[in-house]
Amino acid sequence: MNLAVFVKHVPDAAEADLRIGPDGRSVRAEDLPFQMNEWDRFALEEAARLKEATGGSLTAFLIGPGEHEDSLRRCLAVGADRAVRVWDESFPTLGPAAVARALAAAVGEERFDLYLCGAQAADDGYAVVGPTLAVLLGVPWAALVCRLELQDGRIVCDRELEAGWFERVELALPALVTVQTGINEPRYVSILGIRKARSKPLEVRGLADLGVDPDEIGRLGALTRLEALEPPPPGREAEMLEGSPAEVARKAVAVLREKGGVL
């Protein structure tokens, strides 16, 4: 089975004081650590397991500058045979539609049996690339897949819905799935593994190499344009309990008793 996986390298916003850049539209990423998008780790693991089970090939795709290659190297270390990074100087503010278009162009004439994406990206949280890419590739898809099984030429997958419900669907191959967290247990990727994968091919392509008209990307990019980033509204403005752990504990007990009606 020939598989394609699409991954994104994203900043880890946990514990970060996100600072908005001078243009008002970007986050100052220089001091944020980056990592492979959480959902993509599960997609990659699923792809690697399918490859191990069925033989065949695995190709990894990523859109991003050179610093984002880490995530592709991980894919290679986990079992991808080859990786493709697409980048163009005009890219930095691509919207999801343009990203999907560029990825479709990178797939080009190649045909895979199954395409796997993460359900969403942790940074912009659009959850748009997967189904969009499926439309561009002309294959059926299923989003939010939390279980996947191969059955003679088809895949049967469970989509995770709300409130403890799931939907079982059957997809004819070739098809695309977007993967939900928890579908598997992603393996650890060692540094030695990543180093060894350096000998595997990693191609870098620009728009011109892909034969894509930059104007088209520009137009798609402008469909959904980020105008401004701002701090979120304060919401409930929680009253902060301050002091030593023992003090805050005492204050919390008072709150639980007086406001919570417990104790």
Partner: protein, 321 residues
């Protein structure tokens, strides 16, 4: 100009979020509101009958391929009708269903799309969507290009739902969907009931990924025990196999409304928050002062849960005498 609301239903039931979509569609003032109910043969009648007030027209679309609200078929069916009728906005929910069909519809139409939108505004420049990025740490204003149709999905729970009932006779429309869309609905599956029902608890002590280690769950268990509370958790704790799914709070887990909700090491992603924000009293402990959970909490403690929680447990035990 018109606004289309894609009614969300499952297993014969209209989902609550549809009322929220209608409310937003109405407030937008971008023309009459059409509710579109898609589904397999016999699947649309009941949901259509449950639609709230504020709708000017109801269209039911049925087709074999649409059975089970099949996302591939829904996108295909909507694409054809929308290309012809050119609604200004197609509104859906940012739900498991919306995440399946909406962006595909936009791709088919070449239309601008904004997902997980908190509020949608119309001005001279067209439509402006407000949404969150970086797991709720920042808010983004997103401009949708001027186009015959834009596709928008709204975050469930972000708006007050429209009430009442539609009282509009439904039209039926023949679906122009290919018989074979490459995807077939098989069945709905409900997670088996577990041993505990967190929705019945008065007090929940809920742990998130911040707990870091399954062994450390005892820190939270101790507090729960001292308070006579039930232990619940966020999704990663379930993904990692540290607690069973039945204890998961969130849109893909359970919606809870206890008297007291204590969130330990939970960042406050909307998929979690939506399902617990109506708790009577929310107390959050998180080491990150910028964690979005503090925005839905009544009380907050910035600190290491391993330091704070044992003290809290001790103080609770003392208070109980």
């Amino acid at each position: 100009m018109s606004v289309w609301v894609i009614a969300e239903h499952r297993n014969g039931e209209l989902r609550e979020v549809t009322g929220e979509l209608v409310a937003v569609a109405r407030a937008l003032g971008a023309g009459p509101v059409t509710a579109v109910v898609l589904g397999g043969p016999g699947e649309t009648e009941a949901p259509a009958a449950g639609l709230p007030a504020g709708i000017d027209r109801v269209v039911r679309v049925e087709h074999e391929s649409l059975a089970g609200f099949n996302g591939v078929a829904v996108a295909a069916a909507l694409e054809r009708v929308a290309a012809r009728e050119r609604p200004a906005v197609v509104l859906g929910a940012h739900s498991a269903a919306g995440m399946d069909w909406a962006s595909a519809l936009a791709a088919g139409l070449g239309a601008p799309v904004a997902t997980d939108v908190l509020s949608l505004h119309r001005d001279d420049g067209g439509f402006l969507a407000v949404r969150t990025v970086y797991a709720g740490k920042l808010q983004a204003r997103v401009r949708l290009a001027q186009a015959p149709t834009v596709v928008v999905t709204l975050r469930p729970g972000a708006t007050e739902a429209a009430a009442g009932s539609a009282e509009v006779p439904a039209e039926t429309e023949a679906a122009e969907v290919p018989a074979e869309v490459g995807r077939r609905f098989v069945e709905w599956i409900q997670e088996a009931a577990g041993e505990v029902d967190i929705t019945q608890a008065d007090v929940l002590v809920s742990v998130g990924r911040g707990i870091g280690d399954p062994e450390d769950l005892d820190v939270a268990r101790d507090l729960a025990e001292a308070l006579g509370a039930t232990l619940s958790c966020s999704r990663p704790v379930v993904d990692l196999g540290w607690l069973p799914k039945e204890r998961q709070v969130g849109i893909s887990g359970k919606t809870v409304k206890p008297k007291v909700y204590i969130a330990l090491g939970i960042s406050g992603a909307f998929q979690h928050v939506t399902a617990m924000k109506d708790a009577g009293l929310i107390l959050a402990v998180n080491k990150d002062p910028k964690a979005p959970i503090f925005r839905v909490s009544h009380y907050g403690i910035v600190g290491d849960l391993f330091k704070v929680v044992p003290e809290l447990t001790k103080a609770v035990r003392e208070a109980k005498g």
